[in-house]
Amino acid sequence: MTGTVTIRKAGPGLSLQDMGRPGYLVHGVSRGGAADPLALAEGVALLSQSPDAAALEMAGMGGEFTADRDLRIALTGADMRATMDGAPLVWNASHPWPEGAVLSIGAARLGTYGYLHVGGGFDTPKRLGSRSAHLGAGLGTLLDDGETLPVGTDAGKTTGQVLVPDPRFDGGALRVLPSLQTDFFPADVLERFEATEFHRDIRGNRMGARMNSDGPGFLTDGGLSVLSEVIVPGDIQVTGDGTPFVLLAECQTTGGYPRIGTVLPCDLPKVAQAQPGAGLRFHFVTLEQAIEAETRARDAVKGLRSKVQPLIRDPRDMPDLLSYQLISGAIAGNEEI
C-alpha cells in the first residue's frame, strides 16, 4: 500500500533526509544526510523497517500534514508538541495515521531537529544514490506549503511502540580527537578550550554551528596560513577572530581554517541537537577511548530494536513508571501516555 503525504503548512526548515550520499567526496559533495543520524535509527527501530528509509527532518518546528491513506508514523529527535486531529501524541513513539487525519507538529520543546518517519519511508526519486536534500550542493530544497511526498510500500503493521532516547538534546560534554592543526594552538589555549563552557549560536544550520563563549578567542601562534585540506563532519574550525565552529553533516569538503580538534561521530548529534544557549564542553580523548566510545555507540544502535516497548496507555498501569526516563522538563504531564 502506497500513498501520499501533503504538507498543508510547512515549518521553516523541513527537508527529506536519509543517511546521505557517501562516496562523492572526491567530486566535492559531502555526505550530508540527517543532522541527527541516531534519530533516523530510532525511527527505523520504532517502525521495524529498512535503515535507508528517508524521513522528514524538521528544524525547530514541524508543520501540518495529511495523508491520503492509512499510514504508520514514528516521531523522534527533538521533542515537539504533536497532535493527531487535536489529540496529543507521545514523542519517541509510533502511531497510526488514519487517512485524512490532520497531523500537527509544533515547536521543539527540547532540542533542534525533530523527525517524522512514515512506514515505507518517503519514496522520492534518489539523486546520486540518496533522497537527502543537500542544500549547499543544490540537491533538493526545503519543503513548502502544499507540496506532496510519495510514501513507499509499508511491510509492517505495528504501532503503539515507544523508545527511550539516548539523551542528547540539552548540551553536555563532547569528546574530541586532536586534528591536523591541534598542535598549532599553544598549550594554554588548548587548556582554556577544554575549560570553557560554550553555547551554540542561534544561527546554526545543517552545515555547522558556531560556538559562543565569554572571554577571548582561541588563536593559533602567529599569522597562520593553512593549505586548504579535506574537512570531515565534527571538525572544529577556528576562524580568524578565534571563534570555533563545529562542522555538521552538510559541511563543505575542503577548508583552509585551522582545526583545533574533531568531535567524535557518536557525540555529533549532541551538537546538532543542542538548542541555542545550551552549554557544551569539549574534552580531548585518546584514539583508544574514541574506539571504545564508537564501539559502544554502534552496539547501542544495533540494540535499538530490542529496546522498543509497547506504549502503555494508562500511567496507572505502569508500575515501573519512575524507571522511564521521560526527559526532564519535556513532558507537560497532561499528555496521553
Binding site: 567530486h27 566535492g28 546520486l128 543544490g138 586548504s228 585540506e229 570531515v232 563543505q252 574506539i291 564501539t295
Partner: protein
C-alpha cells in the same frame, strides 16, 4: 604541453596523519607544488586499485590523498601499515598524471559587468587589463583538485604575478560559472556562493549536473584554457545549454 618539474619536497614527506575518528590523510607536501599534486592523484588511484576492505571512500585534496574507513573493522594501525607499504613501492612524486586526461576550451567573457573584479585583480598583479587577459587566457591550467562544492575545480598554476591574496571581506554572491583568481589559482564556481576570490571572468558552463549520466564534468588532471569571447558570442553560448560552448579533446 610542457610540464614544469619542480624538486620533490624534502624532509619528512610524505606524512600519514589521522583526520578525526575515521579518516586517514597521506600528504605529499606542506605547500602546493606540481609533483606533490601529481603524487596525491597517483597515490589515490593506487588506493582505489588496492580495494582494501574497510576503506569506504577516498579523495584527493591539493597535495594529499584522504581515506575514510571503518576503524571498528579496519584498525588504524593496520591501515597505517598498509599505507606505508604502498608508499614505499615507488617514488610517487614522479608518477604519471591520470590516464584519459582532457584539454577543455571553455569560452569566457573577461571583465565587464559580468566579471567586475578583473581590473582590481590586474592591478594587484601589476598588469594592464589587456595583459591580464592575455596572461590568464593563453595557457592551459590544470585541475589540481575538485572540492568545496560539487564538481568545483581549483586550477593552476598561474604565473607568479598572480600570487595575489584573497580579499579580506567576502563577496556576498559570486554566480555559477564565475572564474575567480587568487594565490596563483583559479576557482571555476559550480554553485552560487559567497567567496573571497576575485571575480575576473564569467563562463556559461554548468559543472554539476545531478540529473545527467555524468553529473561531474571536470576531473583532476584535466587541463582547461579559457579563450576570450565577445559579449554577443557569450549571450549566444549562454542560451545554448549547459555546456556553455565548452569543447574538449583527449590529451595523448
Amino acid at each position: 604541453m610542457a610540464q614544469v618539474i619542480d624538486t620533490p619536497p624534502a624532509g619528512d614527506w610524505p606524512r600519514i596523519r589521522t583526520v578525526g575518528f575515521d579518516g586517514m590523510l597521506v600528504s605529499f607536501g606542506e605547500t602546493l607544488n606540481e609533483p606533490a599534486n601529481r603524487a596525491a592523484l597517483a597515490f589515490r588511484a593506487a588506493v582505489e586499485r588496492a580495494g582494501w576492505n574497510g576503506v569506504e571512500e577516498s579523495a584527493t585534496s591539493l597535495v594529499s590523498c584522504f581515506l575514510r574507513f571503518d576503524p571498528l573493522y579496519l584498525g588504524h594501525d593496520t591501515l597505517r601499515t598498509d599505507l606505508e607499504t604502498l608508499l614505499a613501492e615507488r617514488n610517487w612524486y614522479d608518477a604519471d598524471l591520470p590516464q584519459g586526461r582532457r584539454l577543455w576550451r571553455i569560452p569566457t567573457i573577461w571583465g565587464t559587468d559580468l566579471a567586475p573584479q578583473l581590473e582590481e585583480a590586474a592591478h594587484q598583479a601589476g598588469l594592464s587589463v589587456k595583459d591580464a587577459i592575455q596572461s590568464l587566457s593563453s595557457e592551459p591550467v590544470r585541475v589540481q583538485t575538485i572540492g568545496f562544492a560539487p564538481g568545483q575545480p581549483y586550477l593552476g598554476e598561474l604565473p607568479s604575478c598572480w600570487d595575489i591574496p584573497r580579499q579580506q571581506d567576502l563577496s556576498a554572491r559570486i554566480p555559477e560559472g564565475a572564474l575567480a583568481v587568487a594565490i596563483r589559482q583559479f576557482v571555476l564556481f559550480s554553485v552560487t556562493t559567497p567567496t573571497g576570490w576575485r571575480h575576473v571572468g564569467q563562463t556559461a558552463i554548468r559543472l554539476f549536473r545531478p540529473e545527467s549520466e555524468t553529473p561531474f564534468v571536470l576531473r583532476p588532471g584535466d587541463e582547461v584554457i579559457f579563450p576570450p569571447v565577445s559579449r554577443e558570442e557569450f549571450e549566444n553560448i549562454r542560451s545554448s545549454g549547459p555546456d556553455g560552448g565548452a569543447s574538449f579533446e583527449v590529451i595523448r
